[in-house]
Amino acid sequence: METALLITTTLCYLCGTVGYLIYLSKEEDPIHRAAWTFLFLGALAHTTAIIIRSIQAGHLAVSDSSEALSFFALILVATYLVAQIRFHIRILGSFVSPIAVLFMLGSSLLPVHMVPKTGIIKSAWVALHVTLLFSANALFALAFSAGIMYLMQERHIKRKSFGRLYLRLPSLERLDRINYVSIVIGFPLMTLGLVSGFAYAGTVWPSFWSWDPKEIFALVTWVIYAVLLHERLAVGWRGRRAAWLAILGFSAVLVTFLGVNLFMKGHHAAFVR
């Protein structure tokens, strides 16, 4: 049942992505509506699948990399759907939906491990920790997409050579605004997510900080976004630099999230492998 739902989800996301890529070159309402609906249906199927699995497992289904990737894809799509309703930035979908598809494919390629239940994972703290961080990461993914769009659009305008996308991409100020809003909301979420993680770690492990690679990379990521936000607010950084930093920040997110999960050991490994 759940596998079928997950396959449906991936297919829906895939159709949505294809729709959004077509929409990139052909601005027609029905195409966007279809693509959005596909993403929406995918998100419904996805939510159902994750709820089923979580009920079976007795805790939020993020106990291995496969599940984590899948959960992140859901949060990303949901974040985009909400952002689209709220801010009407359709073209963002063309950049965000491929990321969701990649995560879904990654999730289905990774083997599913039945991790021995340690009891640690069962806590509501873990669900909170993961949900907060994933929401922050999803917003950072939006900032990352907006950053890429900004750099493309700025290149058009600065170099005075206008590619096909020039007409389709929104204005620089709008893209910069998306970047700003995503990070302003995402950063506190990330901070809360990290704090909840450390607090919980302090109760189940001897110390709240144990030089775990994931912890170190998470801190690096946090510092990158802290710098970006600080420079924005204090000095008025914006535009190209902010876009680059949002791209750098999301790369750090990916390293923290995937690189560490897949290639390094640490106590997070107990439940991410």
């Binding site: 659009q153 206008f162 929104p170 620089l172 100020e173 709008r174 008025g236 950084w237 535009g239 630099r241």
Partner: protein, 451 residues
Amino acid sequence: MGHIALLGMNHKSAPVEIREQLALVCRSEAHPLQALPRLECVGELFSLSTCNRVEFVFTCNIVDPAVQEVKSVLLSHLGQPGTFHLEQYFYLHQDVAAVEHLFRVASSLDSMVLGEPQILGQIKAAYREATECNAVGVILNRLLHKSFSVAKRVRSETRIGSMAVSISYAAVELARKIFGELSDKRVLLIGAGEMAELAAEHLRAQGVRQMLVANRTLERAVELAKQFRAETIPFAHILDSLKTVDIVLTSTGSTEPILTYKDIKSRMRERRNRPLFFIDIAVPRDIEARVNEIDNVYLYDIDDLKGIVELNREVRHREAERAHHIVAEEAVKFCKWLETLDVVPTIVALRRKAESIRQNELNKTLSHLPHFTERDKQAIVVLTESIVRKLLHDPIVFLKKKSDRSTKQQFMDFAQQLFNLMDGPEMNASPLQGEEETYPVDLEAAKVSEK
């Protein structure tokens, strides 16, 4: 009423004095549509008049007398005795050519500025007027609605309307790509040439409300400021104002650059890096070219803008070829529909439909009754045939009786809808379905083309 004809003149066929006269007449009290009841040879009539064109579309049985009638209405309105020389400025299209011409006009392929969006709105307004006068019937209703949808198709399938074709409009479009909303932006005009004035007008049309004017001669600055409800600032304060403005338009006659890399670079921090867009339309240039290298600063000089306009024009012309193809295709489709709007094709289609239903149902029934003998089967075949024949008898007689009425098309159209005789789904669309859409207005282009 078998023919559609189009009589008109446009900016290519007639000089502006003539068009002006005609447009004036069409806007006066004695609207040509009101003459329709007196025109014996003309069935339906639609008229469009803008500063660049006057077009009459009408249906008729025999073209020549109808054309003479329409012309005489026009000429009598013009009220000049010696106006026979007008004849040479008219063009006359018939049937497919007429349909195609109207579609081309609606899609703005016949406009002075290719692709300008104003014309479609003008046609819609003229159509509304024609419906109010009851001057249009089945054919022109469908023709006009079709012309709207063709225009829409051209717009969405080609990029003909999406490109700026004037320098000042190109600058405004760039500003929109940098800032998005312009309503809360401040504009500084340095120098007060004609081009600056045009660009400022565009910016105002895009919602810019705050403008500053700096000019070496105060008189001109005050004059311009009045026109745009702007403030004037002394020429020496330009550098200070860079902290608060977002768009700077320069057009002075200065031989030395008045804004340098250093001037601007040093002020970006104070601006908290908010983007700054310089439009330099002066020759020689007023702003150092290196300014474009500063982060969040964008500089366009007159050549850059000309480049964009040139590029856009090329694109438009390339796209126009694709648009012509769409228009020709749709015109042929429309005329096919028109041909079916006669008695014989309608009856043929009705019989064909009945026959195909009869055959299908017969085959279905007989395949369930294998034990029937040939005689039984024959009897059933005869039965179905006579039911169909008797059922169709009255409608067919009715249609035949209407064949010499002037309202023939209405009956044919109605019969076709009643029996669902049309093939394509678009042909089934009710002729009264209208669509209203607004397109972004290329102010200057529109001004030039269809005043």
